[in-house]
């Protein structure tokens, strides 16, 4: 079992993730032609201007107004992306499989960052349950997606702390991680791919066409 | 500045000369108010509505006012055969005035004064206490309608048509509107069936048939010819034209694949476009050119379905054919600057505005009126020719193409100039 999830499953997950992302990307580009205005309106300058204002914390008005969401969201996304890439255990596995190596983060940092992701997920859950405007637009799928994002981190944390049987936990962790990779391209988690493009288009339409700011 | 048919052109003075027609700056001293200038086709008369001392209005021609004056006067125009018309009002009654002679009947309102292609017919929309109608060559349509919003004259000037509302509609009555209250009346007689909307219409070259853009129901538009809708309909259509000497109608229509040019309701060119309009028939009556947009925000001319290679980002205006039909030109705008493109190649010189180009009768040269830096200029094959004018009216070639009549204003003086065409280049 361990052999399967730490080997073929991970490769399958990566393949589906990469393949799915490429598929979504190509589909988007193709559909963008049908939309007629997208390519003619796109502007590199205003795309970057918009991205700039939305990837820097508090650079937009709503990020300042909803500061708590901003703080949590930035921490969550940064940790979510950096952790899997720079975690010693992950790098070691890649090194073992490929012989490729890159820098790793300290165990302490990894610990805190995992905790941050877990707490952020709890925050998002509470927000979804408690805020009427979020609750109103919440489907079961939103909880499922949150759980899918939450699972690899909480299981990784548990494995690291050896709260339960390590081998079982790590197998569950790897399954969760693979599952997350697999579903990203085909669910709303694909915002990971689309974010720069939706922002770029809106930035271009606001800036290049309508001469206004979008933040 | 499309090359109008001037019936009297042969009889004009074609001797090369430059003659002052009137000192129009002087008019500004003579009258309280001088409105926009118009010049007769032969260039012998310059006219404008002016305000007299007694605050009435009247046309002034070469410095002399008409005997008739009006509380209001507007729409001053020379017909292609050189008669001067305007719309005038006294005691709340409006009429058409032709060469200082008011037409017999007067109306609550008169507007949309138009001339037929041959210059013989003059008509306008009218409102009377009985409703709306048309006044054509002094005759009023017997039938009146709830509303009328256009008038088209047949090429020979003996018939008129326009869109009419056949029943009154209270504001807000969306149910009744949906029944279709619009139609076309030709010489006062409505077609048999009504439509949700009726927009522009065109006469066939012999004046016997009328085609119009109609909307059948929301989202379905088509062309109706003598009241009968094409069997196919489209999301949208534009104004139809007739192929000269035939019953065949050409109009653009929006299909699920894009805009197509249609002949009697069937695709004419095997292509669809992002937009197609301003279809124009060549002088041979067969060749067909239109303004097309092959891609969003790109415009060009297509002739019989073959597009110019060069496209323009802002605007392309009506295609103009040379008399042999072999060449085409059009006013184009790109990056905010106007110029003329001939056979797909834009002139390097750019302007603040250009008027429709005119081919010399031999088709070798292209002329256009242009505006830049507060003055008008004559541009020949892309080169500015002659002085900067305060105003430049249309210019006309003699039939043999050897001479060109230019009507212009320089230093407050209106001039009529006839020059040899060969001196242009």
């Amino acid at each position: 079992m361990y052999q399967f999830v730490s080997g073929p499953l991970v490769w399958i997950a990566f393949a589906v993730f990469v393949g799915g992302m490429v598929y979504q990307f190509v589909t988007m580009l193709r559909l963008a032609q049908k939309d007629k205005v997208i390519y003619p309106y796109m502007s590199l300058k205003y795309s970057l201007r918009s991205l700039f204002h939305w990837i820097i914390p508090f650079a937009s008005r709503n990020m300042r107004a909803r500061y708590e969401v901003t703080i949590v969201t930035f921490i969550f996304h940064i940790c979510l992306v950096l952790l899997p890439i720079f975690l010693l255990a992950h790098v070691a596995m890649f090194a073992f499989a490929w012989g490729a190596k890159w820098c790793v983060m300290s165990a302490g940092a990894a610990n805190y960052m995992t905790l941050a992701v877990i707490l952020a997920c709890v925050f998002f859950l509470l927000r979804r349950v408690m805020l009427p405007e979020v609750q109103f637009v919440t489907y079961v799928s939103d909880y499922v997606l949150l759980a899918i994002a939450f699972a690899p981190f909480v299981t990784g944390f548990a494995a690291n702390r050896q709260w339960f049987d390590y081998e079982t936990t790590i197998i569950i962790h790897m399954i969760c991680g693979s599952l997350m990779l697999i579903v990203i391209p085909f669910t709303r988690l694909s915002h990971m791919l689309f974010f720069p493009f939706t922002r770029a288009y809106m930035g271009s339409e606001f800036g290049a066409v309508r001469n206004a700011r979008d933040w | 500045m499309s090359p109008l048919f001037y019936p009297e052109k042969d009889s004009w003075d074609w001797d090369p000369s430059s003659r002052e027609i009137s000192n129009i700056d002087q008019w500004k001293l003579d009258f309280n108010e001088v409105q926009e200038f118009v010049v007769s086709p032969d260039g012998q008369k310059v006219a404008a509505v002016v305000q007299n001392e007694d605050e009435t209005f009247t046309p002034c021609i070469n410095g002399e006012t008409w005997e008739n004056s009006f509380e209001k006067a507007w729409s001053l125009k020379f017909s292609p055969d050189g008669r001067l018309f305007c719309l005038g009002m006294n005691d709340d009654e409006w009429t058409i005035i032709e060469d200082d002679r008011p037409w017999e009947d007067s109306f609550e309102y008169v507007w949309n004064l138009k001339f037929s292609q041959n210059g013989k017919g003059a008509g306008a929309n009218i409102r009377t206490s009985d409703g709306y109608g048309v006044l054509l060559n002094g005759e009023v349509w017997e039938n009146k309608f709830v509303q009328m919003r256009s008038v088209e004259l047949s090429p020979d000037g003996v018939s008129a048509a326009g869109n009419i509302q056949i029943e009154a509609l209270s504001e807000g009555d969306v149910a009744k509107f949906r029944q279709g209250l619009w139609n076309i009346a030709v010489d006062g007689k409505p077609w048999d069936s009504n439509f949700l909307n009726v927009w522009d219409c065109s006469f066939s070259s012999d004046g016997g048939i009328v085609a119009a853009e109609v909307r059948l129901v929301s989202g379905r538009q088509t062309i109706a010819v003598d009241g009968k809708a094409w069997k196919n309909d489209y999301r949208a259509v534009w104004k139809p034209i007739f192929i000269p000497g035939s019953r065949d109608v050409v109009a653009p229509g929006l299909t699920t694949e894009g805009w197509k040019l249609l002949l009697n309701g069937e695709p004419l060119w095997n292509k669809s476009y992002n937009q197609i309009w301003r279809q124009t028939i060549g002088p041979d009556g067969r060749k067909l050119a239109a303004v097309v947009s092959p891609e969003f925000g790109q415009w060009t001319i297509a002739i019989d379905g073959i597009s110019w290679a060069k496209t323009f980002g802002d605007v392309v205006l009506d295609p103009v054919f040379s008399s042999d039909g072999k060449r085409t030109a059009a006013g184009v705008k790109e990056s905010g600057k106007w110029t003329v493109a001939v056979d797909g190649t834009p002139w390097p010189e750019k302007f603040g505005m250009v008027w429709d180009p005119v081919f010399s009768p031999d088709g070798k040269h292209v002329l256009a009126k242009a505006w830049r830096d507060d003055s008008y200029m004559l541009v020949v094959d892309g080169k500015i020719t002659g002085p900067a004018y305060e105003n430049l009216f249309d210019f006309v070639f003699s039939d043999d193409g050897t001479k060109l009549l230019i009507k212009c204003v320089e230093n407050g003086l209106c001039f009529r100039k006839v020059i040899f065409s060969k001196d242009l280049t």
Binding site: M28, L29, L31, D35, P40, S50, W54, S60, R61, N62, M63, P132, E133, F136, V137, T138, Y139, R188, S190, H191, F194, F195, F197, T198, R199, Y201, F206, V209, R210, N211, A212, D214 | Q35, E36, W74, S75, E108, Y109, W111, N125, R149, Q165, E171, G172, V174, A175, F177, N197, W199, S218, G219, Q221, Q275, S293, F296, G297, D314, V315, G336, M353
Partner: protein, 442 residues
């Protein structure tokens, strides 16, 4: 969730249409629109939205209805599009009635929410897709549809007949001449610098605004014209009902009229939605990336006249003023700064609204909402309490609104919330303070 019931409003345009529709017809139209008329933006927006609700605080309807989630931008999408898509278009006529209520009467498509969405999702565009579906089903509020019918017949939004239009211009020219003797409204003048277009309420009920512009043009010595035939109305409610074919026809008439007269630019009166239709939605449908002739909003034009000194100010307006910044020229054109500059140039006591510029609240009337007519007025006024609070906080007496929809919308807010303030167009203030050279005076 214990939310209060949405009051039932009777509207012929919706009620009668619902009776004649069935689920199959709805599904056919929905699927045709979604297949043929939507593409990348629609699909990516739907796939990207993470249901975070962060757009909510952008919406004046949400804020004014005590944070009722049904009025949040994403809440409106949920109640309409998400359901339509989930059921593959197989929704009931009653459901579509609710869609029209939400999309036509409870959203001003003001696009403030797209500035609050972290992804920049154009939520207003999604609601315009809902409107498009509604239009194709004939599910449009009666008064809005009547306005569109007027556009389809007359190319103007208030059934103004051709003779009435010209007659009004001639009457206003006379009136203007009574004040400034060189005033004219040159009809169909070829080659003028400015083609001036208005919206139909001007000739219909506010004709003095046309007389005012004739005087302003005379003082500024502008070479201008107005067309005698159709194409003079720059407004476009078909854009908002979802009738894009009529929208395109109306916009084409406007531009063809100016192209035919060889005008170098179009200056339009003080209206926001008309600017949007003429600058973006109309040209886009017709295939122009930009308007074929430069389109200048009145605010931009007055800025030009004032900064170049063609209009001078005799004495500044003293009553305290604030401004209603129209979405379609501020978020839609970035004219907020220029608007503030011209107000500062003519007014002594200008009090800034907060929030302002691109973040200003919509008047609540735009996006075709006010054209949905009297049945929907109560909910519209209720849905913009924040605007009343924003205006009241300035303690100004006059609200300058360079937009017709804003003008009427703000008047409704003033009376609905008893603010005791007054609404003026910028040109009305300018008329009071403009320096008129002696030789032009009657």
């Amino acid at each position: 969730m214990g939310l209060p019931a949405i009051p039932i409003v009777s509207d012929l345009g919706l009620d009668e249409t619902a009776k004649a529709l069935n689920t199959e017809q709805i599904a056919t139209v929905v699927n045709r629109i979604l297949d043929q008329e939507t593409a990348a933006r629609f699909k990516v927006y739907l796939n990207t939205c993470v249901h975070c609700g962060l757009c909510s605080d952008a919406c004046h309807w949400f804020l004014s209805n005590d944070r009722d989630p049904r009025f949040s931008p994403v809440g409106k999408v949920k109640q309409t599009l998400w359901e339509i898509i989930r059921k593959k278009g197989h929704v009931s006529p009653e459901f579509m009635k609710d869609c029209s209520r939400i999309a036509h009467t409870e959203c001003n498509v003001c696009r403030r929410c797209s500035m609050y969405c972290p992804f920049g999702i154009d939520i207003a565009y999604l609601l315009l897709v809902v409107r498009r579906i509604c239009h194709e089903l004939g599910m449009v509020p009666q008064f809005l549809q009547d306005t569109v019918n007027s556009h389809s017949v007359t190319m103007n939004q208030m059934w103004v007949k051709q003779d009435e239009w010209i007659d009004t211009l001639q009457w206003q020219e006379e009136e203007a001449k009574g004040e400034i003797k060189t005033s004219r409204i040159p009809l169909d003048k070829e080659g003028a610098d400015v083609f001036y277009s208005v919206i139909a309420p001007e000739p219909k009920i506010l004709a003095q605004l046309i007389g005012n512009i004739a005087q302003i043009m005379a003082v500024a010595k502008v070479d201008w014209t107005m067309p005698s035939l159709d194409g003079w109305d720059n407004s476009n409610m078909a854009m908002y009902s979802g009738d894009f074919e009529i929208m395109g026809r109306v916009e084409r008439a406007h531009y063809e009229s100016a192209l035919k007269l060889k005008s170098r630019r179009i200056v339009m009166g003080e209206c926001g939605h008309a600017f949007r239709g003429a600058a973006y939605d109309g040209p886009k449908w017709l295939g122009w990336r930009e308007p074929p002739i430069p389109l200048i909003h009145a605010v931009d034009f007055y800025h030009e006249l004032l900064t170049t000194g063609r209009i001078k100010i005799a004495k500044k307006f003293e009553t305290p003023v604030t401004v209603q910044e129209p979405c379609n020229i501020v978020r839609g054109r970035g004219l907020g700064q220029k608007l503030r500059e011209i107000i500062s140039m003519v007014c002594e006591d200008f009090r800034l609204p907060e929030p302002g510029l691109e973040h200003n609240y919509c008047c609540g009337a735009g996006g075709g909402t006010i054209n949905c007519g009297p049945p929907w007025k109560t909910s519209r006024v209720k849905g913009n309490r924040v605007k009343a609070e924003q205006l009241a906080a300035t303690k100004a007496h006059i609200i300058i609104t360079p937009c017709h929809n804003c003008h009427s919308g703000i008047e409704d807010i003033i009376s609905g919330y008893k603010l005791g303030m007054h609404v003026k167009f910028f040109s009305e203030i300018l008329m009071e303070v403009m320096e008129v050279p002696d030789e032009l005076k009657c």
